[in-house]
């Protein structure tokens, strides 16, 4: 007995000692801490999505009882959400699942696939031109090409519509192209899957550019040179050497673009639905906001998350399998630029025109629209919407002074900047820490769990995220309507961005760099602040930038959680709804300019930039 007891005590002590020595290593503390935090932060939303999809809401109970003769009460467990949405019904509802789910899903998949292809073709081509040829104006191209990502995706959709609308389509509003040249493009160009995919593709092309360009830039030129020596043709080198090496970057692009496009809502609404092109996210929104079949909206959410997870799984499986491909030597000695000779001029000019259209033109058009009293009539240019120090009249709602002297707008702008700053500081720092923990514990199950979980919030549609946290706030009442709530939600939602850049940056640092400081007795905070962070400064700061940008232009995530005047985007959506055209265009311009400015200044001061944050180098 006593022997057993003492042995028990001994093994207890042993366990305690094991734990103590395990947690004396900071990477272990961090990995466990973040594993727990992320489990809570992602498991709860996931749990509530699943629960909502399996219970009868108050309205659903009413509908199902009436339609199917069920005897559900509010909150009862039911498979009916899944059954009605996913399986063929009878009578009137025969095609419900097809029309509400399967067809939009098919459209979503098509749109996302095309968007991926377009993003990769455009982004990849430009990445190739910039990193591998002697094309001119590289610096200009690479900085301007990021714009479409910085701007909200729907701005491009709006510009698309304004340019290509013509008298043959819809109500016959004459767009810019027709009024300038008289050319009427066919309806399928203006509305439907084509513009949806194209706009999404262009919006995310910077992702492809950044990721593929990063790999190409870091790729040892020797690899290609070796092939050149073996007398392989350029095309063959591209096919057999270059493309396989950028494969992981391609996969990452596909993962990001595909899941983002699947969840995107605004673009399909703007240029899709007029041609009866509906996707899963628009259906999800309709059902969710309709307040009747909300459970089915959650089933759709699960579908979206599942697709994201499948892609994520494929991505990790693929990159894991071919890890050797991603090893980048870091020193690409002499890169031999392909001489494109006479084509140089042509390509440069073409690229300038293209980038002007997708990057500069939308900004100009915002500026113009915010300065014309009468839409489309450029003889009525005025600065009053910006500079008026008195109340601007002529709108259905009171808007106050011109934008630059409008207390409400400036307050909301400050609110957004404040939120974005705080979120980016939190998220960026967590990104560094998670990156550190994952890199140090690489290969362990816990590290896999943490990096997987950190990506998860990316897969949950913003709308659902907002709703989930509204419910959280109604239980933790001290959070309600506070900045803290917005910060928490924003921080969780944007964690994936920072984790990505943080992990990438940390993976590139050998453990020895830290151990060299450890051995001379530098404490962990000192090692982080004096050694690790400064070395990868630009990559880490990029991890702060991306959440800032995304947060500045986020609407659907926050709209349920705050009043319309708190953030610039919620105020914008209010003005937009009330057709306060000039002011909303002006606010748009303001957001874009601020983000560009922040990106530019950070870049100048620290060398960081958004492209580095996405995972480029």
């Amino acid at each position: 007995m006593s022997k057993n007891g003492s042995e028990g005590r001994k093994s207890g002590q042993k366990l305690l000692y094991r734990a103590k020595s395990y947690f004396s290593v900071q990477a272990n503390v961090l990995i466990v801490l973040f594993a727990v935090l992320l489990l809570v932060a992602t498991a709860y939303p996931m749990f509530s999505v699943i629960r909502s999809s399996l219970t009868a809401g108050q309205m659903e109970a009413m509908m199902y009882n009436s339609l199917f003769g069920s005897k559900l009460k509010t909150g009862d467990f039911t498979w009916l959400n899944f059954k009605m949405l996913l399986t063929r019904g009878t009578g009137m509802m025969a095609d419900w699942s097809v029309m509400q789910f399967w067809k939009p899903l098919w459209n979503s998949l098509r749109m996302s696939t095309y968007a991926c292809l377009i993003a990769i073709v455009i982004g990849g081509t430009i990445a190739f031109l910039i990193t591998r040829t002697d094309i001119r104006c590289k610096k200009f191209f690479s900085s301007v090409f990021i714009f479409p990502y910085i701007m909200p995706s729907w701005t491009l959709a709006l510009v698309w519509k304004n340019v290509f609308a013509n008298s043959q389509v819809g109500t016959g509003v004459v767009g810019m192209l027709e009024s300038l040249t008289g050319i009427c493009v066919p309806a399928w160009v203006v509305y439907g899957i084509f513009p949806c995919s194209l706009v999404m593709g262009i919006h995310y092309a910077p992702f492809a550019y950044i990721l593929i360009g990063g790999t190409l830039r870091n790729m040892d030129a020797n690899l290609e040179e070796a092939a050149t020596i073996l007398q392989a043709g350029r095309g063959r080198i591209l096919r057999k050497i270059t493309i396989p090496i950028v494969m992981p970057a391609l996969f990452s692009t596909v993962l990001l673009v595909f899941s983002s496009t699947m969840a995107s809502y605004a673009v399909p609404v703007f240029v899709g639905s007029p041609a009866n092109f509906f996707v899963l996210s628009t259906r999800l929104r309709s059902l969710y906001e309709g307040g009747i079949y909300t459970g089915q909206a959650y089933v759709m959410t699960i579908a979206l998350i599942l697709f994201g997870m499948i892609l994520l799984g494929l991505n990790t499986w693929f990159t894991g399998k071919r890890k050797s491909f991603t090893t980048v030597t870091g020193k690409s000695g002499q890169v031999s630029y392909i001489k494109i000779g006479k084509l140089n001029y042509v390509l440069t000019v073409l690229l300038v025109i293209f980038l002007f259209l997708i990057s500069i033109f939308p900004i100009i058009s915002f500026a113009l629209e915010s300065m014309v009293a009468k839409q489309g009539d450029y003889s009525t240019l005025t600065l009053k919407y910006w500079l008026s120090r008195t109340e601007i009249s002529g709108y259905a709602v009171a808007v106050g002074n011109g934008i630059l002297f409008n207390r409400n707008i400036l307050n909301a702008l400050w609110g957004s900047i404040k939120l974005s700053l705080i979120v980016s500081v939190i998220v960026g720092s967590c990104g560094v820490l998670i990156g550190y923990a994952v890199a140090r514990k690489r290969g362990t199950k816990l590290a896999g769990l943490v990096s997987g979980l950190a990506f998860f919030p990316y897969l949950v549609p913003s709308m659902a995220f907002g709703a989930i946290f509204l419910a959280v706030a109604s239980k933790l009442t001290f959070l309600r309507g506070t900045l803290l709530l917005l910060i928490i939600v924003g921080a969780i939602k944007y964690l994936p961005f920072a984790t990505r850049s943080g992990t990438n940056a940390m993976m590139q640092l050998s453990g020895e760099i830290e151990e060299a400081a450890l051995i001379v007795g530098a404490s962990w905070p000192k090692r982080m602040l004096r050694i690790l962070f400064p070395i990868q400064k630009s990559a880490f700061i990029s991890g702060y930038l991306l959440p800032f940008v995304s947060c500045m232009r986020e609407l659907s995530l926050f709209v349920l959680l705050t009043k319309s005047g708190t953030l610039i985007t919620t105020l914008l959506s209010y003005f937009d709804e009330k057709a306060v055209t000039q002011i909303s265009n002006g606010i748009n311009l303001l957001i874009v300019i601020i983000v560009l400015l922040v990106n530019f200044t950070t870049n100048k001061l620290t060398g960081a930039s958004i492209d580095k944050g996405v995972g480029g180098n």
Binding site: S24, A517, V520
Partner: protein, 370 residues
């Protein structure tokens, strides 16, 4: 200056055993080399002693002070072991100048400003890198980076210095120079050096004792010449020496306590050992260093020149005997025509007999024909 003692140290990752039940005593002021091919556990051993890796079992002591013990639940962190570590890739901090790199550790140890400046100057001078003081690592060549790394490691005056293949990234000439300097440094500092390398020549030339490891198991721990002359087993015999020892199959029959008749390389010879020995049941093989094969026109053994590799000072001759290829080293530049017949003798008093089953070395001695 501490004495380092490892007792039953084992490192295990899942089912993979990195270091198996290692017992080692590193004397104060020694220059010990951990030698072995990659994956043999030498780096792991070094990192465990330094505190960068936690052993699964066992005990590590610096003098009487326990640094690690799983029994006693003690694990002194690396920073508190007061050791220096020189990394394979130098691990210089790219965002700091040479001076800052060297000073960082001293600042951490809370040295006074003037003392730091003094010490940094001293180190820069010792390692002859004064002119690079304000450069960044990226602006230095490999050899210069190496010197900076050494300066940084030595600056806090560690009592024990660990080095993980510090010369492997340098070219042959630089490596030679650095070896000379390391040996001097060791003498000047009087500190204990523990040095990891896969290069047996480095181990032979530098160390006061070699610890040869294979697959996590200690093979032999002895001064370099002992390891060379009296390797404890076939692995050690084969690993140390360049060109490697010739290992040839042999049939032996005991004559008396110290001698035996041996059939080897198509000849019957008499082996006279330096000590008493027993022949094992499973058969033996003979280990002959290349320098003990002496080529001469009236040699007792016969073979043909397979290939000749003159290196100026000496020449390595590959001799084909039946299916076996033997290495012989001769002084001066000699050239044999390929496949030319030649004769040779087995000379010297350090011919080794190994147990073919246990691979252990049984005896050393000399060989006489007839």
């Amino acid at each position: 200056m501490p004495k380092i003692t490892l007792t039953n140290v084992t490192k295990q990752w899942g089912n993979f055993i990195g270091v198996n039940d290692l017992n080692l005593e590193i004397e104060d002021g020694a220059f010990v080399t951990l030698l072995g091919s990659s994956g043999c556990g030498k780096t792991t051993t070094l990192r465990m002693i330094a505190g960068l890796e936690t052993p699964t079992r066992g005990e590590i002591r610096f003098d009487d002070k326990i640094m690690f013990s799983d029994e006693k639940n003690i694990n002194v962190p690396a920073a508190k072991r007061e050791v220096g570590f020189l990394f394979q890739n130098y691990a210089l901090w790219p965002h700091m100048t040479v001076t800052q790199n060297i000073a960082f550790g001293l600042e951490t140890l809370k040295w006074k400003k003037p003392e730091i400046t003094e010490r940094v100057k001293e180190m820069l001078k010792t390692l002859r890198i004064e002119q690079f003081a304000d450069r960044y690592p990226a602006e230095l060549s490999g050899g210069q980076q190496q010197r900076v790394a050494i300066a940084r490691t030595l600056a806090p005056k560690p009592k024990v210095l660990f080095m993980d293949e510090p010369l492997s990234n340098l070219d042959a000439k630089l490596r030679g120079e650095m070896r000379t300097e390391l040996k001097r440094l060791h003498r000047d500092m009087g500190a204990t050096f523990v040095y990891v390398t896969h290069d047996q020549l480095e181990a032979m030339t530098l160390s006061s004792k070699i610890c040869l490891m294979n697959e996590g198991v200690l093979q032999q721990y002895a001064p370099p010449l002992t390891v060379y002359n009296r390797p404890s087993n076939l692995f050690v015999a084969d690993f140390v020496g360049n060109p490697s020892m010739n290992i040839v199959d042999a049939k032996a029959q005991k004559i008396d306590a110290k001698s035996a008749t041996i059939d080897v390389l198509g000849q019957r010879v008499t082996f006279r050992a330096n000590e008493d020995f027993e022949l094992p049941a499973g058969g033996v093989c003979l280990g002959i260093r290349p320098e003990f094969l002496y080529i001469s026109d009236n040699g007792a053994f016969e073979g043909s020149a397979y290939s000749t590799l003159p290196a100026g000072m000496e020449t390595t001759v590959k001799i084909k005997v039946g299916e076996e290829i033997l290495s012989a080293v001769m002084f001066g530049a000699i050239d044999y025509e390929t496949d030319a017949k030649l004769r040779y003798d087995i000379t010297g008093d350090n011919i080794l007999i190994f147990d073919r089953e246990t691979t252990r070395c049984i005896a050393s001695g000399s060989i006489a024909v007839g």
